[in-house]
């Protein structure tokens, strides 16, 4: 009797905690939506002005007008409505940022066309990075001093220099040695080498996380060292390494923007800066690109969360 009573009390406590958590989560979502709405309003071109005892609400937009026989694109105000009273502080105006909607709709398809290239660079680079990271991690665990040195040398050199420099090195410095790489190739090699160096640490930790007993059990069954690594150690190490690898891939989609610096890879960032500079609409172009990157990141993050949940549920 007493125990069942205690249990229900514990359940009540648990329920109260869950409810508190639920309220917190709901408020976080509402705050997010509020912040999003605030940002949309900040870029809406709305202006509220108070002067001479009237308060007017107006919207601004860019339009083509003819001035002295020359067609010109300029800001045009449309007063939507006015109220017959002023705000306490007369003469105040609240203006938001005006962006050129026409420019965005004209160039949306062109900039969005870079997404495919961005994803292509990211996937090619992450594949190269995984291979290099695996080799570097195995090298780190090698008892051969040269292989150990090779692995640590690579990681140290890459981590000791900027990614931006590495991309330029493959694109601009190698031609001096007679090796001319395409912008895409140079970008993928640089990103792959760079991420490989960072990810090798993740892989090494993953391999180290597999207990000594696992290796012994495999050896006792008669497995060779390579069978042990392939069948027993690596599958467990990779499972450990998948969540950080997901983070790396998400970072990579954004760092792929640096490849635009070569000027020959038409990915998202390159396309955004190209149209932005041509028409002096950098604000619009960069906002557009930012939204694409952000949405891509959100989608990848939710995909990653789903994969992690599946791994956690399974057979660990």
């Amino acid at each position: 009797m007493n125990t069942s009573n205690q249990k229900s009390q514990a359940e009540l406590l648990f329920e109260a905690q869950e409810k508190k958590k639920g309220i917190f989560r709901r408020n976080v979502v509402l705050s997010w939506l509020g912040l999003l709405l605030f940002m949309i309003v900040m870029f809406s071109g709305i202006e509220i002005r108070s002067a001479n005892n009237t308060t007017s609400f107006s919207t601004w937009k860019f339009d083509n007008i003819i001035e002295n026989g020359i067609e010109k694109r300029t800001r045009v105000e449309t007063i939507q409505f006015s109220l017959p009273f002023g705000l306490p502080n007369d003469g105040i105006s609240l203006a938001t940022i005006l962006i050129d909607g026409q420019f965005i709709s004209d160039n949306l398809n062109f900039v969005a066309g870079g997404i495919a290239q961005t994803i292509q660079i990211s996937i090619l680079s992450i594949i190269l990075a995984i291979i290099l990271a695996l080799l570097a991690a195995l090298g780190r665990l090698s008892s051969n001093p040269f292989i150990y040195a090779l692995s640590t040398f690579y990681v140290s050199l890459i981590r000791g220099t900027p990614l931006y420099l590495q991309i330029f090195f493959f694109f601009l410095a190698l031609p001096q040695l007679g090796i001319v790489l395409k912008g895409l190739t140079a970008g993928v090699i640089a990103l792959g080498l760079n991420y490989g160096a960072y990810m090798s640490e993740t892989f090494r930790a993953g391999i180290a996380s597999v207990s000594k007993g696992q290796r012994e059990a495999a050896i006792a069954l008669g497995m060779t060292p390579s069978q042990t690594m392939r069948r027993i150690i690596l599958p467990q190490a990779l499972r450990f390494a998948i969540p950080p690898m997901g983070n790396d891939f998400i970072s990579m989609t954004k760092d792929s923007a640096l490849v635009s610096a070569t000027g020959f890879v038409q990915e998202l960032m390159w396309r955004a800066t190209k149209v932005g500079r041509a028409e002096f609409r950098n604000l619009e172009a960069l906002v557009m690109a930012a939204i694409f990157y952000w949405v891509m990141t959100l989608l990848l993050t939710s995909l990653q969360a789903r994969i992690e949940a599946r791994l956690a549920k399974g057979d660990r």
Binding site: G213, Q214, E216, A217, I219, A220, L221, G222, Q236, D315
Partner: protein
């Protein structure tokens, strides 16, 4: 006397300066169940692990079912001999060491399929027979995470048996178990012994030694101090250190 399955001759093992096995020679004939007992640090686990070269002995020879390996051996030939010895020995660990990313059945067929190159269906048939005999067939599609300690150890025994070894090595197989789960594992081990398997068991389970073992070897500080039948050991221990060990067991009982 049967032909010896395991023959250890003049075995020495050093960990740095520490002399943990001191010139040990012992033979285990076919179908014998030997319990190795002694206080922790006496070298009993190290001796067991030297038999399948999980520990490299410093000097001496290990012979398992006619395959003779010199401790000082080097090179590919030596590695091949060690590999052959490992195929003749099955090992059960204190910490079970099941592969967590594989189901029970996958754990058990891994060795035969990958190491021996056995046909998968044949391996499954054999694995299922062994899982049945340890009473774990009903969990064959579960992952080890979902098993109790006793169940894990029974699967580990089935995994070792499915390699069809000539001798089974048990390294404190019940020491990591909750007391109420020890019985089920000891029963399976008893069954394996009754089926005629040669067994070397490092254990603290005096009850098991008394009931199942044909022979008990007592170790202390890297030496074999007593090598006798369980009846003799419990009624008439010779070495004072053995006597202390038995007395402690009696008071614990």
């Amino acid at each position: 006397m049967h032909h010896p399955i395991v023959k250890i001759s003049n075995l020495d093992k050093y960990f740095g300066h520490l002399h943990v096995l001191k010139n040990i020679s012992v033979e285990v004939p076919e179908k014998q169940v030997v319990c190795l007992i002694g206080r922790s640090g006496s070298g009993k686990s190290t001796l067991l692990r030297c038999i399948n070269f999980l520990e490299d002995p410093s000097h001496g020879t290990i012979e398992v079912d006619g395959i003779k390996v010199e401790a000082e051996g080097k090179g590919r030939e030596h590695q091949n001999l060690i590999h052959d010895v490992r195929l003749k020995t099955g090992m059960v660990f204190q910490e079970f060491n099941l592969f967590p990313h594989m189901t029970v059945l996958e754990n058990v067929i891994e060795g035969p399929v990958i190491v021996k190159g056995m046909d998968k269906n044949q391996a499954i048939a054999l694995a299922e027979r062994n899982l049945d005999s340890v009473g774990m067939l009903f969990k064959k599609d579960e992952y080890p995470l979902r098993l109790s300690g006793g169940q894990k150890q029974r699967v580990a025994i089935a995994r070792a048996l499915t390699m069809e070894p000539r001798v089974m090595l048990f390294d404190e197989p019940t020491s990591a178990l909750d007391p109420e789960l020890i019985g089920e594992v000891l029963n399976v081990m008893k069954k394996v012994a009754q089926e005629g398997m040669t067994m070397i068991v490092v254990t603290h389970e005096m009850g098991f030694a008394k009931e199942v073992a044909d022979r008990v070897i007592v170790m202390s500080e890297g030496e074999l101090i007593e090598d006798t039948s369980p009846e003799e050991l419990f009624s008439n221990p010779k070495d004072p250190r053995t006597k202390a060990l038995i007395d402690r067991y009696r008071t614990a009982e």
